[in-house]
């Protein structure tokens, strides 16, 4: 073995390591390429730390089991890819409305449908936001390296526990399957956030009451002796169904505001080579690696190119786009392995402030640095 700290590690492996470090003690799933190693390694590792692994009969059941385990107090995760992610949507919506913390890993592969099982894509950007029906809160984060998979899996659990919301870790086949040199942090340096508990002094617990005026009710665990009702129907603070318009509106507002009022905590992005940049490439996930390679070449030629890498995909980083309006930037290129899903969001956010172009690839191959370079040159000619 290499040193415990420095090692060659696969993205999917780093996901499980991060989850365990964050305190995951339950995994239910239905293995699917290119996420399979996550289930495989979780099956081996979880029993050794007193956790539970269940391979369920399908994706619907596995998402249901994850919600149930979390209600009983365990940090729970599932992992899937496109077709399985589609099947999990109903119970993801249930977790959004009932405010059950959970982490859902979606390792993107080519779609739609069975698509390209072994090949990379970034075609689930919109599905992570609006895959389940109705207005609902959700947090989606996306890593670009194996080390970041580790860090972001921990962060996914932390955000999910803190805001009582499902957190989607949006990976892709490239980052999931590649192995690279990583140095993992000391366990003692990792911040762990746990869900807010019900104070022992509290009598007459109302499971959906905003006791702390932060939109996040404390959560009792099933089995702890504080029974409460959980339903996918719109409910009042007692947890029982209601069709009252005021109750409904208050609930939806609270669900949306607990995210919208905390975007400074939730949204993370990275800016590189931005000091004098006139053209900025907006990207995320594996594509950011190709973009960075290209920028290093273009910078040597003296071109003023920078990169905005979104680490949080949803809620969208409007603030990052607004910051660009106060700079020398006049052109944006949105690079993604899909037909232009993030591009439309960036355009809406920019409100006409920049010339905006898409660099889109959806043939199962990673965008190459040369393709990024070619796009930058092509766009420069339109100026």
């Amino acid at each position: 073995m290499l040193s415990r700290k420095i090692m060659l590690m696969q993205g999917n492996e780093a996901c499980v390591e991060g989850a365990l470090a964050a305190g995951m003690r339950f995994f239910a799933g239905y293995p699917i390429t290119p996420s399979t190693e996550i289930a495989e390694i979780a099956a081996e590792r979880l029993p050794k730390v007193g956790g539970k692994f269940i391979q369920m009969e399908d994706e619907l059941a596995s998402m249901g089991a994850v919600v149930g385990a979390s209600l009983a107090g365990l940090k729970a995760m599932t992992a899937t890819s496109g077709p399985g992610f589609s099947l999990k949507q109903e119970n993801i919506g249930f977790a959004c409305l009932t405010e059950v913390p959970c982490v859902v890993v979606n390792v993107q592969r080519g779609g739609p449908s069975t698509g390209l099982p072994t090949l990379p894509a970034q075609g689930d950007v919109m599905q992570t936001r609006w895959g389940t029906h109705g207005d609902h809160p959700i947090i989606v984060i996306s890593p670009s390296s194996v080390r970041e998979v580790y860090d972001m899996t921990i962060r996914a659990f932390n955000l999910s526990e803190k805001y009582r919301v499902p957190c989607i870790l949006l990976m892709d086949e490239v980052v999931a399957h590649m192995r690279e040199r990583v140095e993992l942090p000391d366990k003692s340096s990792i911040d762990i956030i746990n869900r807010k508990k019900v104070a022992s002094t509290l009598s007459d617990y109302k499971p959906y009451m905003d006791y702390d005026s932060d939109g996040i009710p404390p959560m009792a665990n099933f089995g702890d002796g504080i029974p409460f009702h959980v339903t996918g129907l719109i409910h009042d603070i007692s947890g029982f169904p209601s069709t009252n318009p005021k109750v409904t509106e208050d609930l939806i507002n609270r669900l949306m505001n607990k995210i919208n009022n905390n975007i400074g905590d939730i949204i993370e992005y990275e800016k590189l080579y931005m000091e004098d940049a006139e053209t900025v490439i907006v990207t995320f996930g594996c594509t950011a690696r190709s973009v960075l390679s290209a920028i290093r070449v273009l910078r040597q030629e003296g071109l003023k190119i920078g990169m905005l890498r979104l680490k949080t995909i949803w809620p969208f980083a409007h603030i990052a786009i607004k910051e660009l309006m106060q700079s020398s930037v006049n052109t944006l290129i949105v690079a993604e392995m899909n037909y232009g899903q993030l591009l439309e969001t960036v355009k809406a956010s920019a409100e006409g402030a920049f010339r905006i172009y898409g660099l889109n690839k959806y043939n199962g191959e990673l965008i190459t640095p040369q393709e990024v370079i070619d796009k930058v040159r092509e766009v420069a000619e339109y100026a």
Binding site: L2, L8, V174, H177, M178, E180, S290, P369
Partner: protein, 177 residues
């Protein structure tokens, strides 16, 4: 050494070339370098041409895929024909001696990897380690000390001596060229 060296290993699914790529990348890390390993395969469960790729660099590795391999080692003709076309102009193609040499202008090295594994060691299953030995003897991409450690750390318990012998036979094959 160049700042970034790209190595491709190709063969048929089940020959252990993905493991060989992992071992090579681990050896590079033991040498204090950066390494990325990736693989390509189709939706079929086994057989077919498969490839494993390793990038070794003294600096950060951003784009994680091999675009123009410096070295391509192929153990089957199917893999060779499928994956040789983007080999770097002055790149090195290492093939098993059982294969017909392609009529290309690359530097081609034909070595009896499969035969050595089968006849000298008695197990064709260690051909991947023989191949690694040959590749390292010829290219010196990683140190022999690191590759030996990486091989011994990764192979199943009880097969250490067998794999060490395979590695050394591989070195010898490389020396003879």
């Amino acid at each position: 050494m160049n700042e970034r060296i790209e190595i491709r290993l190709g063969g048929s699914g089940g020959q252990g070339l993905i493991l060989a790529g992992i071992i090579l990348a681990e050896a590079a890390i033991l040498d204090g370098k950066n390494a990325v390993q990736s693989q390509s395969y189709g939706p079929e469960a086994r057989g077919g041409a498969s490839r494993s790729e390793v990038i070794i660099s003294n600096t950060s590795i951003d784009y994680p895929k091999v675009s123009k391999p410096d070295v391509f080692l192929a153990l089957t003709e199917e893999a060779m024909n499928k994956y040789k076309n983007d080999l770097k102009e002055n790149g090195l193609l290492i093939i098993d001696a059982s294969m017909e040499k392609p009529k290309d202008s690359y530097k081609i090295l034909s070595v009896p990897i499969l035969k050595t594994a089968q006849e000298k060691i008695g197990k064709v299953i260690v051909a991947n380690i023989v191949a690694l030995g040959t590749l390292i003897q010829v290219t010196e991409v990683v140190s022999k000390e690191s590759i030996e450690k990486a091989v011994l750390d990764r192979v199943p318990q009880g097969t250490e001596e067998l794999n060490k012998m395979a590695l050394y036979k591989g070195f010898e094959l490389g020396k003879s060229k």
